[in-house]
Symmetry: C2
Subunit: 524 residues, 2 copies
Amino acid sequence: MYLTQGLKRAAQVDFDGTSTCIMAPDGSERRRSWGETLGRVAKLASAMQKLGLGAGDRAAILALNSDRYYEFFFATAWAGGVFVPINIRLAPPEVVHWITDSEAKILFVDKAFSAMLPALAGKIPSVQQIVYLGDDDPPQGLHAYEAILKAADPVPDAERGYEDLAGLFYTGGTTGRSKGVMLSHRNLVSNNFNVMSVFHYKPGSRYLHAPPMFHIADCVAVFGQTQMANSHYFIPMFTPEGTMDAIQRWKITDTLLVPTMVNMTVNHPKVGEFDLSSLERLAYGASPMPEAVILKAMQVIPNAQFYHAYGQTETAPLTSTNGPESHVFDGPLAYKFRSVGRSAPGVEVQIRDENDVEVPRGEVGEICVRGPNVMQGYWRQPELTAQTLRGGWMHSGDGGYMDKDGYIYVVDRVKDMIISGGENVYSAEVESAVQMFPAVAECAVIGVPDEKWGERVHAIVRLKDGQSATADQIIAHCHEQIAGFKCPRSVAFVTDPLPLSGAGKIRKPELRKPYWEGHTKQVN
Amino acid sequence: MYLTQGLKRAAQVDFDGTSTCIMAPDGSERRRSWGETLGRVAKLASAMQKLGLGAGDRAAILALNSDRYYEFFFATAWAGGVFVPINIRLAPPEVVHWITDSEAKILFVDKAFSAMLPALAGKIPSVQQIVYLGDDDPPQGLHAYEAILKAADPVPDAERGYEDLAGLFYTGGTTGRSKGVMLSHRNLVSNNFNVMSVFHYKPGSRYLHAPPMFHIADCVAVFGQTQMANSHYFIPMFTPEGTMDAIQRWKITDTLLVPTMVNMTVNHPKVGEFDLSSLERLAYGASPMPEAVILKAMQVIPNAQFYHAYGQTETAPLTSTNGPESHVFDGPLAYKFRSVGRSAPGVEVQIRDENDVEVPRGEVGEICVRGPNVMQGYWRQPELTAQTLRGGWMHSGDGGYMDKDGYIYVVDRVKDMIISGGENVYSAEVESAVQMFPAVAECAVIGVPDEKWGERVHAIVRLKDGQSATADQIIAHCHEQIAGFKCPRSVAFVTDPLPLSGAGKIRKPELRKPYWEGHTKQVN
């Protein structure tokens, strides 16, 4: 069980077949075979070792999607190192935290991100060498990717595997600093097999990497599609038109998009101008999917089968899936696509209460996960690791319930649940109701201290420019949508956008803080 | 990674769905849900512990196929024990060897095999308790299966997993005594995932257990279909009509048969009288498949997709597969079904020479395997284990080559290859040629000492009753089929059937022995 086994197998069973393909900057197509990619990975690994990467050392990357990003993953593993893919939406101080926390020795940057280097200068002392992924001449002091690769003699695969650390994936940020999720070779290979068992890739599939490759959701395909010897196609970053153009040009059969991307694509004015009929399987995940979007997608791409993938970085990442059999509107599985599906074949899921006892079906608790895909822990955070993995189960922080058929429904983050007058209120459900009020641009629902109710359901609302509404109007609107005890009892209006984390999630602890000062509730 | 996880997941995602189904002795259908089976396994495990089964202790079973055989596997794992399924075609002394070598503490027998117990009496001292699987009253001194199950309180799953030993599967016998292949939980679960990745089981599949369940080929389904929560249907033993009847009655979607069974089924005079259209996937494996048989099968069961599974007990067992994409007659993969396919996604295969160096594509060497599915070793045979697993690779003993597309072709057992005049001759190929001579009932081709050629190709032939042939006729016939250097230079005629191992393979060491006495060739 080691990541480069998949690459070696792909070169063994499809030496001349396409491994990677991308449009080069000059507009030509850059297509490489599995045989070429295997050779390049063995040489890049050699170059990385010459640049000082030893067994277990970290190599970080900050770049848009490309075939070289793909090679970086496998070369790092081949060299015996640990990859650290960096979120491309971070501000320089956050990038500094990821690099210094992981003590990365080598940093890879592409043309898009080399401009950030001056802002990092002097703040990332662990980095001894920087490699430039661009096709043009590298900035002063950086190594040119193709030059070091060309100059290197291939080395044998280090064949680290099983419990050896493969990658650090930083996550979080809504509550404090990002933490490095330690995923071993076993974690990632186990995930490959969960994915392959349920997604039913056919030999010869063509996968499009459209979401950013630093994200574990795209890494599923980096490693999983390789294990099946399927071909990888890349666009530098997601745009609706770029994605549709790529699907049409390369007759893409498979991709995974986050719900926002699906939404932007299927509701794009030009969606009818592209031939998307090659798409056999469209997976979506990483955040909740609005029902209207999936219904529109099923209508716009009727050839495709739809899969919902649910999980977290900590589960490498697949926890559960919903396949095409539950994307239906009648029969016993009608509308089960509203859930996040059933546990993946090799993954154990239990819904547990605060005492770590499994709750009966239908009752809300914390979604907990066990299996060979569950992370080793948080990098250099033994206490947080012990807390998260207590009792041998990964505590996801997601509140949810399981129905009698084993389908899992996520209701809210456990920390965002509100207990008001003894009733559980899920902020996500209330936010959905508030959001449907036409004048609302965005909103967050939190619990605030209340003498009568313990916690009171409170909405913080930003209205669309030029629109107006009163608290009473919004509360009355909610009473038409959801039970009375769930409705906000107070509404605060703000004019600034709500504070977001690097991952684009609303920072609720920040919103809760002023209300809870002097009270005892844990607000992080 | 532990076997009972699959069972628990199945009960979680399909509590009321069919787990097992068999025709009971009274002619009624005995169908159990996943919820029931889970409860029964937890109770049977409890009963086994009460009968003295401790962690790592062995429990053996000698029985025809049934739902209870299925429960035995999972209950043994649940109790923390190690299962030892016994070949149903063995003579009592061989059964004694398997039981005493494994030191099984508990023995399960059904009605069919309880008659063998007197022949075992006094010879299997490790066995402290015997459990009777039959529905009638048990023979004196045996525990009734349903009675001990009913009396037991369920125990929690022992949750042995990963490197813990799960089962001992005895194999071999053509060369000396059977040896116990040690398969861990990780080995068997890894195999599940290789199988699920390529066989593309759909949710709701119905699997027929027709080959004997002691065999690793059927265990693939015992564990793999459970991990997918698919339903298990059983017939006590294979017969062509019984198999076709079961497929029709239960609308079976999946099964795996050995080539002989496929042959007997598709060439059965009544094949046209059964509706086999429910069969979506027919896998075959465990011995070479004659081309005529697979062609006939594709014609008789046109709805089915065909899969060839190749492997050994030592690889738990899947090494490589050929899917429907290579069961074709034109295009780039035409006739690739003549190979044993390409390595399974998580399995490494190399063809290696006698110095353990990988040979170039197209050259014959020994098929060697590495991966999490490879056995821990042979039970209490450290030297044989070290020899078989030298350099970290499992040496299969099969000679073969790999083509440029990664398809693997088995040519012969390495030990049965003949080097004659410096040329490699594969006995299996020569046997195929001899076998085509109409008067030949059976034959074995071996190398015998020869002053001129080093080894001489020698055929041992038994003619069909009432038929006649000369050595010259047979040799002349071979010259029409294969190259001259491969043809037998001498033929010996025998009248007794050739000596067979328990697994039905010709015992070539026995045939070679008289020729090689006083010479130095290793004949085992």
